[in-house]
Amino acid sequence: MLKKWKLIIALFAVLGMLAAFGTGCGDDDDSGSSASEAPAEEAPAEEEAPAEEEAPAEALAGEGVTAGLVFDIGGRGDQSFNDSAAAGIERAKAELGIEFSESSPNDDGSNRAELLQLQADNNPIVIAVGFLFAGDAATVAANNPDTNFAVIDDAMMDFEAGGPIAENAAGLTFAEHEGSFLVGAAAALKTQTGTVGFIGGVCCFGLIEKFEAGFTAGAKAVNPDIIIISQYITEFPDFDGFNAPDRAKEIAAAMYADGADIVYHAAGGSGAGLFEAAKEVSENTGSKVWGIGVDSDQYNTVDDAVKEYVLTSMLKRVDNAVFLAIESHINGTFQAGQTAFGLSDDGVGYSTSGGYVDDIVDELEAFKADIVAGNITVPDSME
């Protein structure tokens, strides 16, 4: 009898270890989240109200204000989209003196609305990272009229009625096609083979096509005969494509094999696979191939080993948008509805880290000036 119990206890121990191991592997993308997590102070929202008005000059403007951040697919540590949002709120903490708490939904996204509500219970401003929050944010905003909400990548506009969906919900959108145009031009200027590639995370819900359309237009503006290989990882409603580095790596390797020497990705956390493929192909064939990053300046966010394969990155300044939203909340100038960020206000752009595009900066700046001046209109869809 005793022996049997010992056996069972041993079995439990082993299973427990397996479970721990399994989860340990699974949360690679979340690494670091707990370390940098700032627990929400339990100050209720009402007490924050005075801070929204003029703060004393010597103290930081946002002292005593708390903000809630909710990540989406990929979460913190994707080296791209979500990390850019995280950088924005960290900056608000450093420069404005706010405190924040962050959270990520369950893997199936079933508790987005619950997280928004939970953050709204504790914070006077809630930032939702990603368009998938749009519907839930509209509902939760209506039920929490005293809390401000900012949603990244959705206009939060009722276009039929012609106004914001809710008076306390801001939509922060980006002209990704304009930024992508510039990196498309950079790719076309730098390619040796006359072939470039585009990897999209998830097809067919409208957003990623903006990147592809801009990239294609930019490349063709430099060289009308350029060959552009384009592939998406998954199709909506399967959003795994934003968090599938292994599949991005396969696709990138195939593109390099087909003659592309520069591949741009708009695939969030999957992008890590692109740069790994660039490194492997470069080392195996001896001729250097490149990847182009997205959202963050990926030269600074990817692993050191693959740094030198990041030609440039299409910057989508989610960090700026997050910072400005919090700042406007503190100043009392929070604006509901769409705020669009584009080339003219540096909401999008390209990065020069690593110095690999230094020789073509003049051409890129000329394109940028033309777009800002309206001489070039960048298409925002593939049709």
Binding site: I8, L11, F12, L15, G16, A19, A20, G22, T23, G26, D27, D30, S33, S34, E37, A38, P39, A40, G68, S101, E102, S103, S104, P105, N106, D107, D108, G109, S110, N111, E114, L115, Q117, L118, Q119, N122, F131, A134, G135, D136, T139, A142, N143, D153, D154, A155, M156, M157, F159, G171, C204, F205, G206, L207, E235, F236, P237, D238, F239, D380
Partner: protein, 375 residues
Amino acid sequence: MKNGSIRRIALALAAPFAAVVFATIASSIFLLIAGSNPFTAYGDMFEYGSRLEIQVDILNRATPLYISGVAAAIGFRMNLFNIGVEGQYRLAAIVAAYVGASVSLPGVLHVGLILVVAMLVGGAYSGVAGVLKVTRGVNEVISTIMLNAIAISGLIAWLVREWQAGGSVDATTSNLGVGTEPIDESGLIPNINSWLEVFTREIGKGKELTGVILVAIVVGILYHILINRTRFGFDLRATGINPFAARAGGVSDKKMVLGAMVLSGVVAGLVGMAEIAKLGRFNPNFVGGLGFAGIAVALLGRNHPGGIAIGALLFAFLDTASGVLQVTGSASREIVFIMQGIILLAAVIAYEVVQRFRIREEARLASALLEGDAQ
């Protein structure tokens, strides 16, 4: 005799109780290793779960989990492993949403039509796996995995573009426009907040208790009657326990395989209905993964209608609690997945242990009774 039935109930409760106690202890160890205080973490979870609004969230989450659990359990009862609930419910949901949006009918008929379409699609799609098994001997595990891939990455990805509201996605406007045409109000199962408010105070924060919970309850009752009170249910269990004996007893195992598979799919078709009622259409926010979660819930509930309900509520509670742990900073959300895994494993093992104990106990009781008779 009364003593004996108390004993039986105590034994039946022993396994889940032991599993939960063990899971709590094991999770505490993980929390300690991760540098969190288990008491704070559990305290936060229970405080959160004790709020009325959050209980509504838990019930809303448990509803599809329960239906999914029953769908899986119907297969399990006759040793069929229907992994295809995932594909079946998603396909059923998009077709039902499309059909629901293309007609306008008075309330009850409209809702009824959507539910019937969902059940038909779910049943038809699982029926493919059933037919393959009966006619060609294809293992249902393999075929349903394949059918999941075909449904999710193939059929639905294609249909969602075919049926996009307004013809095409306009990237320049809001992403809220992505998805099938919205269903008229009459086709959406209303919330039943007022029912719950009879017993409680008013539900705040705009939380809505899904009316689909009633569908789930009906599914549970019908499942109980079907398994325990009908010829089909008897044949199903008999085939599950011993297919050869059942065949010798005149049960057509082919008919049973097909029947169980289709029935499992019919129930699976209902899994997505709470989502459709909430979203009013099929769009990017439609929640996936409920089919796989249902398998875990069915295992936890031992395929018993009441057990599945407890399993669904427990998993729903844990899923919901992952949010508050992050916001209060008392633990990382991953602890919830660890707990779910441990509870599942512990339950499976605890049932086995209790089962053995019960058999030994019954043997002892029987021999004691026999001796008593002999005197």
